[in-house]
Amino acid sequence: MKIVVCMKQVPDTTEIRLDPVTGTLIRDGVPSIMNPDDKAALEEALVLKDKYGAHITAITMGPPQADAILREAFAMGADRGILLTDRKFAGSDTLATSTALAAAIKGLEYDIIIAGRQAIDGDTAQVGPQIAEHLDLPQVSYVKELEFGKDNVLKIKRAIEDGYYLVEVKAPCLLTVLSEANKPRYMHIRGIVEAFDKEVEIWTVDNITVDETKLGLDGSPTKVKKSFTKGAKQAGKVHEVEPKVAADIIVDKLKEMFII
């Protein structure tokens, strides 16, 4: 079985603090980490590898320092690491990113592509599904549990807000995984010792077949108009009452605020 895992290096948002004067994010000194959902995606791949044997390729698009998460992937058990890096990718939105990643994955052999649900910096949850569209593959998002069965069929528990779907999908396919799906293993110490002996393959635009006008800032239809810091919400109030009384309280409150 050949598995490709897509991952992203993100700032550790739990370490980000707000400047008390300007209200903006202080990014200085914030460590970069493997996106948590992507780590869960890698763990799913590693579980399949443990059970059935698999070759895992971890791929990321980012600046040269994104090499770090591929080393981490090696130490966890990935077999191959590809860093897609080129100035031409700079400023990519989700569409341009998925275009580049899909083009790179086209050059690889795969049965299953696994991505994290979303990155903690952008929260879009778009890149995984878009890759599936570019590659014309069936996709299952929000995977909470998966089992590999006969004839390359995966049985999947796909989470929705108040329950889950049980779906079946035949490989080749793309999955996006929730971080609740598993508890990713720690890096193995021997894996760490060997992580820098392995080669991270550096791929540029020249290594992939792609329409360059669809890459980077120019290839990104998303235009950021304005960005601002969300104001702090007021503390909520809890009323522990019967639903009927609760409804009255809510209606009164909305009237008071001239919303209804």
Partner: protein
């Protein structure tokens, strides 16, 4: 000369920090309070290969170096001194002498299972009347030619990991007339008839670590369980402790750093006289002194570890690192408690535990006085 930490070691530290944050820190208070050996942590460390950091791959080890090993003990001890010493005793005292002095057969037989964490290691040198005066061994061993076995009799005290370890390196007298040259080392497996683990000590600190008495009554070991040559036991013990001192120095360093980190967060939050106590110059000067000592300790520990990896004589470096790191740990944790005031004295905060844990680093694997003897002996020779 360069002070850059290699990328591999940075990744390693990142891994251990994550592990400590999720698995070690949350139970540190509980295992101290309950005086409980954290067997589940040992299992988790085994699974990720942490029980074998500096052991070569050919024996199932991680193939790392002594700097990584020191960093591991340091990071564990930042949150939990108990977990730090479990790893240190297992690695330096249990596996260390087998790796250094064992025959090929002994290495093949013991190291893979110890490296995987299946067999925990321990080291028995100290006796009721043979502490710093390690030569006053009362434990005896004689060779029974009829059965081709070594027969051990005696007892050991204050043995770290005892009761949980499967492999014990035991030091005993094989020929009293020869003094230090009549001491030998043995590999003893816990299920050997005649061997038993005695009473568990109630300690001031590192209360989760198992510290017990070992008793050997006509304990028979196969001939091949002699470690190194007969009569070389004292040298083996001393060289093993040289390595162990890097581990304990790293433990002390971790305790000091952990206490400093806690204090830095606390003084920014704690307000007195209308402002955070971090704004007071006394606090700032105390913190600066603590930081300077911790940094100096780290350089000494890392240097000793680096020398060991590179096969450069490191005995004096290990003694210097242990002396300085242990005394730093005691000083920094004491100051940390002081800066926390009354809260620091309560068990609501980890500082008093760190201060209790720090004290042992000035005592075991060679007291600070022994380290001074080693250092003075070297500079006056």
């Amino acid at each position: 000369m360069h002070f850059e930490i290699p990328k591999t070691h940075e990744l390693f530290r990142q891994c251990i920090r994550e592990f400590v944050e999720k698995e070690v820190k949350p139970i540190a208070e509980e295992i101290d309070e309950e005086e409980r050996f954290p067997i589940e942590t040992v299992e988790k460390m085994s699974k990720m290969g942490l029980m074998s950091v500096p052991i070569p791959k050919e024996y199932g080890g991680a193939g790392g170096d002594n700097l990584m090993y020191a960093m591991a003990v340091e990071e564990l001890s930042k949150a939990c001194g108990t977990t730090g010493v479990i790893l240190s005793a297992h690695t330096s005292l249990g596996m260390g002498p087998i790796l250094e002095f064992g025959t090929q057969e002994q290495k093949d037989k013991y190291l893979p299972k110890m490296a995987s964490g299946e067999w925990l290691g321990a080291f028995g040198l100290t006796e009721p009347n043979a502490g710093t005066d390690a030569a006053g061994q009362q434990t005896t061993a004689y060779f029974d030619e009829k059965t081709n076995e070594w027969v051990l009799n005696g007892s050991k005290i204050f043995i770290t990991n005892s009761g949980y370890a499967h492999i014990y390196i035991i030091i005993g007298m094989t020929d009293r007339s020869k003094g230090l040259k009549g001491i030998s080392a043995f590999i003893l497996e816990a299920d050997t008839p005649g061997f038993s683990v005695g009473k568990k000590e109630k300690k001031m600190g590192i209360r989760g670590s198992a510290t017990c008495e070992l008793i050997m009554e006509d304990c028979r070991l196969p001939k091949e369980n002699l470690l190194g040559q007969e009569g070389k036991g004292f040298k083996i013990a001393m060289m093993t402790l040289d390595g162990g001192r890097i581990g304990i120095a790293a433990q002390a360093l971790g305790l000091a750093q952990g206490a400093l980190d806690e204090t830095v967060s606390y003084v920014k939050e704690r307000k007195q006289f209308g402002k955070a106590i971090a704004k007071f110059q006394n606090t700032q000067f105390q913190l600066a002194d603590m930081y300077a000592k911790v940094e100096a300790a780290r350089l000494l520990v890392y240097k000793a570890a680096w020398k060991k990896t590179n096969h450069i004589p490191y005995s004096v470096d290990a003694a210097t690192a242990k002396l300085f790191a242990a005394e730093t740990a005691m000083e920094v944790t004491t100051k940390a408690v002081q800066l926390h005031g009354g809260y620091g004295y309560t068990r609501e905060y980890p500082l008093e535990r760190m201060m209790r844990d720090a004290k042992i680093t000035e005592i075991y694997e060679g007291t600070s006085e022994v380290q001074r003897m080693v250092i003075a002996g070297s500079i006056l020779s």
